[in-house]
């Protein structure tokens, strides 16, 4: 494996007195800058009953303008800049991102500060936007993977907001138009500097970027709200669910295990990341057996996505031969058990570490990619150093660490299995 830090770029990090964190990363690509505004609120913050999907809905409302920049003017300005601008909401964060010519950095930061400080929209616009969210749900509903995620979360979790997807439960989305007052409350709680990190990456001068941030964002008032996120009780038995898909599809099987909250001070999360690749990626033995040799499976992969609170380690297979669905599930469960039973050969583990390092570094090929790669880590720990910390844990992880972690987390009692199969119409 190559030497060097996984995140190879120098950066400046500074907290304004209101709590807003500003991170400036000068990059070698000329003329372009990416601005990522990372708000530490996502669907994890939807703690009240009936409010699932609200963080995502609120992301939509952030494009509904201010007195100074009504939506038409905001759009026109972005267009003049030639900017590529969008946003996304995840479990633990909401991210607003724009890539543009670096010479336009100041007007963009000014306009973005204006909407974070002075957002204002009518109830009529709020109600209309709720329908666009329903439209988004409608497009997602045609994808089996979306339904699988929905069912998996609902089955695996009892009380934690990870029980629902970022889109939210359909019943809550349908009620969104009635929640105007709550939306104002939501904005007041979470769209505050102490929950937000401003990441500016690209052809920039860091001190200048920090000065611009101070000038335009310095007057943002700090808030005080902390969500009371319910703790998920331990799972004490296998859970199973089945989805019937009324259109043509290939069957899917998802095997998920409860997993710990993100942590880069110990080996657990790093070990689960390594297992996800060692066990279920193109570099794994199981992939070779199921996809290439037996050809029972079209795609096989595992996700261990970092989360603020304990979430899931998820293995998914898209099965080519419907009659093999049960065998594929068994093969995945056997593989999980094998990780707990026997240490992986050292050289195999080294190959996985090498893969992680090189694929991360190769992804850093422009300002936008660097900012996008940092955003999840900043969402967790508010610093790019998080990348180097977790890569240090990868480097340290031993075969024995993987066994210990697998023994702890890959038990049938904390497993949830969801299948999706086509049914005759």
């Amino acid at each position: 494996m190559a030497a060097g830090k996984a995140f190879p770029f120098a950066y400046e990090q500074h907290d304004l007195s209101n709590g807003l964190r500003v991170i400036a990363v000068p990059l070698p690509w000329r003329g372009v800058a990416s601005v990522y505004i990372i708000v530490g609120a996502g669907s994890r913050n939807e703690v009240e009953p009936g409010r699932s999907g609200f963080a995502h809905f609120f992301e939509h409302m952030m494009f509904r303008g201010t007195p100074r920049f009504p939506p038409e003017r905001y759009e026109a300005e972005l267009q003049r800049m030639g900017a590529a601008s969008n946003a996304y909401t995840d479990d633990d964060r909401t991210v607003y991102h724009t890539t543009l010519a670096s010479e336009d950095l100041e007007p963009l930061l000014e306009m973005e500060a204006d909407r974070f400080l002075h957002l204002r929209y009518s109830e009529e616009d709020f109600r209309t936007e709720a329908l666009a969210v329903l439209g988004e749900y409608m497009k997602d509903s045609a994808e089996p993977l979306h339904r699988l995620e929905e069912k998996l979360r609902d089955t695996a979790f009892d009380v934690h907001p990870y029980k629902h997807t970022t889109m939210g439960f359909l019943r809550d989305i349908e009620r969104m138009p009635e929640m105007y007052d709550y939306s104002l409350q939501f904005f007041g709680r979470y769209y505050r500097p102490e929950h937000t990190t401003l990441l500016i990456a690209g052809d920039i001068r860091p001190q200048e970027a920090l000065r611009l941030a101070e000038r335009h964002w310095g007057s943002w008032e700090r808030g005080s709200w902390q969500p009371d996120v319910p703790e998920e009780p331990p799972q004490n038995g296998l859970r199973e669910a089945r989805i019937e898909w009324r259109s043509p599809t290939l069957p899917y099987v998802v095997v998920a295990q409860k997993a710990p909250a993100y942590c880069d001070s110990g080996p657990e999360c790093a070990a689960l990341d390594l297992i996800s690749l060692a066990g279920f990626s193109e570099g794994s033995e199981l992939y070779r057996r199921l996809v290439i040799d037996e050809q029972w499976v079209e795609h096989l992969w595992a996700n261990h996505v970092d989360h603020v609170d304990p979430y899931l380690f998820i293995v998914t297979a898209r099965v080519k031969q419907p009659e093999r669905l049960r065998d594929v599930r068994q093969a995945i469960e056997d593989e999980l058990a094998r990780f707990a039973a026997e240490p992986m050969p050292e050289d195999r583990l080294e190959r996985v570490k090498s893969h992680l390092f090189y694929s991360f570094v190769l992804g850093l090929d422009r300002s936008e990619s660097v900012a996008a790669a940092l955003a999840p880590y900043i969402g967790l720990r508010r610093t790019p150093e998080t990348v180097n910390r977790i890569f240090d844990r990868y480097a340290e992880a031993s075969p024995a660490d993987l066994v210990r972690v697998a023994q702890r987390y890959f038990t049938p009692q904390t497993r949830t299995v969801v299948t999706l199969e086509e049914v005759a119409q």
Binding site: V32, G135, S369
Partner: protein, 472 residues
């Protein structure tokens, strides 16, 4: 083989190697041959190495090797770290020049292609289903007329030998453009040029890409399948492509109408921002691969024949007729009036600056260089900026009047209860909408004008099919 090195000091090597062939060159009855040939090279073994051995090489190096097959281009893409540049380029040369043609690889990849048509398009992605159906309608009887992955019947009948024949005839040395960027770019260019001399020197004469067969009558295809919403795609062929004198004018007009995944377009504003009808509506004058997954177009899908395309993301069934009428009204308004001066300036400026962003990543930059050779434009962003600089609002008005007033348009719908929607459209039934909140008077006034807007389609041209019948 044209070989274009773009060396720089980066830690990565990027390679794009495009063969100027694709599904338009599939022999009749062997639709899918180009797809399978490309995939056998990229996702199968070589004579010396099995596919598993290839994965053993790629995985620990974090290297990525992939293939896309389009109508007139098959693109192989390699990205790896400079630590492994030479051995990765050697591997790519071996994969392209000395394939293994193993039956087990063929069966696996043919099944994948079949599943793409039979499961993914028919049952898992209504929006792409409607888009593919639209292209099938516009290009019926044309070399572009089938999905790049082929047809279900032809794939089932395909033998490994047919794929080898396609490879031998089409993947020729003089038929390839190679672009390498980053670390060791010159070395990679030289190595690939030398190693691939084993390819046949010349490709057979391909099927070519004549203009789309014109049609006098509007056509509609209603694809019945279970769904919560209705996905709609509509379009018609246009002669304008990159390099054409009207390209910049038409691009400006269509960007203002519906720039991909941006909220500035008129369609987005009208359907979503003011009315909440769906998640978004966009317009194109070039094929955009996988628009539901990408914010930017992946290069190396260059085509000599393009269509104007409207992409209306899923709409509730009760509002589908109205949404379609509204989108068509926006198109008609643009075709009649062109752009207002400030909208023209804004959009022109957007395109000139945005084109630079599209080429920021090294691999995308290489892809655009290859596309620029295909279209004969010189560097695309440079060419486009020149064209835009010389453009006037009057040029745009002339271009939209010439190109966006089709005699006939094709429509594809995917969703449930399609018979009812079909009947409503055939009857030109009114399609009033109601809202969950008061809307401005101008919106309601516009709704009243749009809700009865006729869409004329001969009954015989409004066909109803089940999703399971598609791509046969």
């Amino acid at each position: 083989m044209k070989a274009l090195p773009f060396p720089d000091a980066s830690p990565a090597l990027s390679v794009r190697l495009v063969f100027l062939t694709g599904s338009a060159s599939d022999p009749a009855g062997r639709e899918g041959a180009a797809w399978l040939a490309g995939h056998m090279l990229a996702y199968g073994g070589t004579r010396r190495r099995t596919y598993k051995q290839i994965l053993d090489f790629l995985f620990p190096r974090g290297a990525a090797l992939s293939c896309t097959v389009d109508k007139e281009m098959v693109c192989f893409r390699l990205d790896c770290h400079r630590d492994h540049a030479e051995e990765a380029a050697e591997l790519l040369a071996e994969m392209l020049g000395d394939p293994g043609w193993r039956e087990e690889d063929f069966i696996r990849l043919r099944d994948d292609a079949l599943h793409y048509l039979e499961a993914h398009l028919r049952g898992e992605n209504d929006e792409e289903l409607a888009r593919e159906a639209l292209y099938g309608m516009v290009f019926r009887g044309h070399p572009y007329g089938h999905c790049c992955a082929g047809r279900v019947g032809s794939l089932r009948r395909m033998a490994l030998e047919h794929v080898r024949e396609f490879y031998t005839a089409e993947f020729a040395f003089d038929n390839a453009i190679l672009a390498c960027g980053g670390a060791w770019a010159e070395g990679a260019c030289e190595l690939l040029r030398q190693r691939l001399k084993t390819l046949p020197p010349k490709a057979r004469n391909g099927a070519g890409a004549p203009p789309a067969p014109g049609t006098e009558a509007t056509g509609m295809l209603f694809i019945e399948k279970p769904a919560q919403g209705v996905a709609i795609s509509a379009g018609f062929p246009i002669e304008v492509r990159r390099g054409h004198p009207d390209y910049a004018a038409l691009l400006t007009a269509v960007s203002a109408l519906g720039q991909h995944r941006m909220s500035s377009g008129r369609l987005f504003q009208s359907l979503r921002q003011h009315r909440g009808l769906n998640y978004g509506t966009y317009a194109y004058i070039e094929y955009f691969p996988g628009p539901m997954f990408s914010l930017e177009p992946e290069p190396n899908h260059a085509r000599r024949q393009q269509i104007f395309e409207l992409w209306i993301r899923p709409v509730a069934r009760q509002q589908a007729h109205f949404a379609l009428r509204l989108a068509l009204a926006e198109l008609e308004k643009l075709a009649e009036e062109g752009l207002a001066p400030d909208e023209f300036e804004r959009t022109r400026q957007f395109l000139a600056r945005h084109a630079v962003l599209l080429e920021e990543a090294r691999s995308a930059q290489l892809g655009h260089v290859i596309d620029s050779l295909f279209y004969g434009t010189g560097t695309f962003s440079g060419w486009l900026r020149e064209q835009l600089a010389a453009l006037s609002a009057e040029d745009v008005r002339r271009a939209v009047q010439r190109w966006l007033r089709p005699g006939a348009m094709q429509f594809a719908f995917a969703g449930e209860d399609m018979d009812e929607l079909r009947q409503r459209i055939l009857d030109n039934a009114p399609s009033p909408v109601s809202y969950n909140a008061p809307r401005p008077a101008w919106v309601l006034e516009e709704d009243r004008r749009v809700q009865d807007r006729p869409i004329e389609v001969p009954k015989a041209n409004a066909r109803l099919v089940r999703a399971e019948e598609m791509f046969e």
